[in-house]
Symmetry: C2
Subunit: 193 residues, 2 copies
DNA sequence: CCTACCGATCGGTAGG
DNA sequence: CCTACCGATCGGTAGG
């Protein structure tokens, strides 16, 4: 109901399809039935709008993917499901925009780097292995890009199988809900918003 | 020396940094010291310019990466080196533009899909395993995106190690130059241009 | 290949 | 939040 939130949700959705540069103030105004200056006045510059959209997307991502109390494999399953459900219509907002801004210095890239660092450190904490965390992240991103590019969900199964082969299950805890590191994960969650 | 080639080379370079939508006719004109209509007249539409840039990038990629007579691991090493050398200043043209157009139907996406299908089938032929080929492709793309985003070449070493652990060396042929499947690879090369 | 131009859209501002 | 406007740039055209 708050219009700022509605603008940013739509901006994040558009960015997942057309990139953050494809998010224009005029387009948002038309799609939301507002005036251009009405949209613009919430942010003051396009860069602030982009940064706010990144923040909004981080909020959505955290809510949809980063649940407290999961093991590495659970987190991956949630990530794949989040991608498959098209929480963002063009696939994972962060996979798209990180690639878009990888070679463009500025505050938007910095924000995307920071978010990725937090995500990577969460993966590393849960897998207990930086190399494995890197490979897991690579496989998740590839599943997302392939599924969208080819409009073919089989990439998710492919990656699911690869991950199950690589990530060791914590023995004897497959059915448990609470885990010893619940609190550290919960703090990680809040730091990702 | 031919101006069409110079335009397309510059277009491909820009696209690796700013995406194919960041390639504008006015920008090309300024950077190449031409008039806008001089640039435009070679293509007739922006879509044709984008498609021609994809074709040009495929030519460059094939020249730099897809050499005849390599095993899977050799091809991966060449790919990582091509990314690391910044043949395209923003990293691999195809990793960038495929992500950019994954959710945007049209001729540009179709061209990028076709190129990727050929690349994936080459990887599958050399590895002899579709699942492994998928994972190799995922790791290469991740190395490229990470190295550019963090301006940190260590991702290449990380992926090199992962690939060496996964891709079996053809026993007894480590030092050979010619291989039995030279001709099939050579035909694959020409079909990628 | 050029100059000169077109309507549309861009990010952003003034003033209310 | 709005209308009305700004200069710059977009893809593209006419004519040479």
């Amino acid at each position: 109901m708050d219009s700022r939130g509605a603008i940013l949700l739509r901006a994040a959705e558009i960015a997942s399809v057309d990139g953050l540069e494809g998010v224009t103030i005029g387009r948002l105004a038309i799609e939301l039935g507002m005036s251009k200056s009405g949209v613009f006045s919430h942010f003051g510059s396009k860069e602030e709008l982009q940064l706010s959209a990144v923040h909004k997307a981080a909020e959505i991502f955290t809510r949809e993917v980063v649940i407290a109390g999961g093991a590495a494999l659970d987190l991956c399953e949630r990530w794949l499901d989040y991608s498959k459900r098209r929480v963002f219509p063009g696939g994972c907002f962060f996979v798209v925009t990180r690639s878009e801004f990888a070679a463009r210095p500025g505050r938007v890239r910095d924000a995307l780097m920071l978010f990725h660092l937090r995500w990577a450190s969460l993966l590393e904490r849960l897998t207990g292995d930086a190399q494995l965390a890197f490979e897991v992240d690579a496989l998740l991103a590839a599943a997302d890009r392939f599924a969208v590019l080819y409009d073919d969900a089989s990439a998710y199964e492919r990656v699911r199988l690869a991950l199950r082969a690589r990530i060791a299950m914590p023995t004897g805890t497959e059915m448990s809900v609470a885990r010893p590191n619940d609190s550290s994960i919960a703090s990680q969650v809040s730091s990702m918003i």
